[in-house]
Symmetry: C2
Subunit: 188 residues, 2 copies
C-alpha cells in the first residue's frame, strides 16, 4: 500500500445505500453516486469496480445490517411475541427511509442471479429466526398452537414488505402502527 485512501470506504458505501434506496439502480447515475457518496469518480471505480458491483456491495451491506437489526429486535423481548412485536415496531419506526431490499426485489424481481444469491441466505436466516420466535410464542401461549411457524414467518415477512411499501407510499406512522397491530392479531 502506497497512498492511503482519503475516504472511509464503509461510510461511502452507506451513502451509496441511501442513493440506491431512494432512486433504484437504474435511477442512480454515476454522477449522483459521486455526489451522494462524496468521493471522486475514479475513486468509486477503483474501489468498487463498476456500478453493478457497487450496487451489489451496497445491497449486501444493507441486507446484513438490516437482518441483524431484525434479529436483535426479535431477541429483545423475553417472550416470543414481544420480540415479534418489537421487530414490527422497528419497521414502523424506520419506514420513512426507503428499503433497498424491497426496492431491489421490485426493480429486478427474482430473475437476477446475483441478487438472488445475495438474498437467499439472508432470507433463510430471517425466516428461521422468526419461525423460532413464533414457536416460542406458541409454547408461551401467545400464539395459536395450530399455526405452522414457517408459514407464519412468511406471513410476517410479507407484512414487513407491506409496511414498507405503505411507508414509501406516504402512509403516516399511525396508519403503519395500526397495520402492524392488526397483523399480530393473525397469530392469536
Amino acid at each position: 500500500m502506497a497512498r492511503p485512501r482519503e475516504f472511509d470506504a464503509d461510510a461511502a458505501l452507506e451513502r451509496a445505500v441511501a442513493v440506491f434506496a431512494e432512486h433504484g439502480f437504474e435511477g442512480s447515475s454515476a454522477q449522483m453516486l459521486v455526489d451522494g457518496m462524496e468521493i471522486g469518480r475514479q475513486s468509486l471505480y477503483a474501489a468498487y469496480g463498476d456500478k453493478w458491483q457497487l450496487y451489489l456491495a451496497a445491497l449486501k451491506r444493507y441486507g446484513e445490517a438490516e437482518g441483524r437489526a431484525h434479529l436483535d429486535a426479535l431477541r429483545s423481548g423475553a417472550r416470543g411475541m414481544d420480540g415479534i412485536r418489537a421487530m414490527l415496531e422497528r419497521v414502523v419506526q424506520t419506514a420513512k427511509r426507503p428499503c433497498l431490499g424491497t426496492n431491489a426485489v421490485c426493480e429486478f424481481g427474482a430473475a437476477h442471479p446475483d441478487i438472488a444469491k445475495l438474498r437467499a441466505p439472508l432470507a433463510k436466516r430471517l425466516r428461521g429466526a422468526v419461525a423460532a420466535r413464533i414457536a416460542d410464542a406458541q409454547k408461551e401461549g401467545d400464539a395459536a398452537a395450530g399455526l405452522d411457524p414457517q408459514a407464519a414467518a412468511d406471513y410476517l415477512i410479507a407484512t414487513i414488505a407491506g409496511l414498507r411499501i405503505g411507508g414509501r407510499g406516504g402512509a403516516d406512522r399511525a396508519q403503519l402502527t395500526g397495520i402492524a397491530q392488526l397483523a399480530l392479531r393473525a397469530l392469536r
Copy 2:
C-alpha cells in the same frame, strides 16, 4: 383526421404497462418500449407525448383496471368476508405478473406529484370499498366487531402489497396462499 393510425392505441398502452411493470420507468428505454409496444418510435411520441406521459398513461390505465378488478372481486361473494377472500385470492393468482402500481410506489415513493395525483382517488375508492365490505362482515358476524373498518382496510391493502412483493421475489403459490389465509385470521 386524414390518415388513420395503423395500431390499436389501447392495446399498445397495455403492452407498455407490461414493459414498465417489468423494468420500471428508468429501466425501460424508448427502444424497449418501441419493441414491446410494437409501434414505431415516432408513433409513440405522436400518440403519447414523451416517455413520462406514456408512463403516467400506462399507470392510469393499469390502476383503473386493477382497481375495477379489486372491486369486482370484493362484490363477488354474498358475504363481506367472501368478497375480501376473493380479492386476496385473485391477488395470489395474479402475483406472478409484476404490479405497475407497487413498482411505481417503490421507484418514486410519495414524492412525485404526478403519480400522487393519479393514485389518490384510486386508493381512496379501494380503501372505502374494502372498509365497507369489512363493515358488512362485521354485521354478518365474520369479522370482529371492535375493528375499525378503515384501519382494517389499510391492513388488507398492505397485505396485498406484501403478497405482490413476495410474488415478485419468487414465492410460490402455496406460500402466497398461506400468507393470504393468515392475513384473514387477523379480522376474526
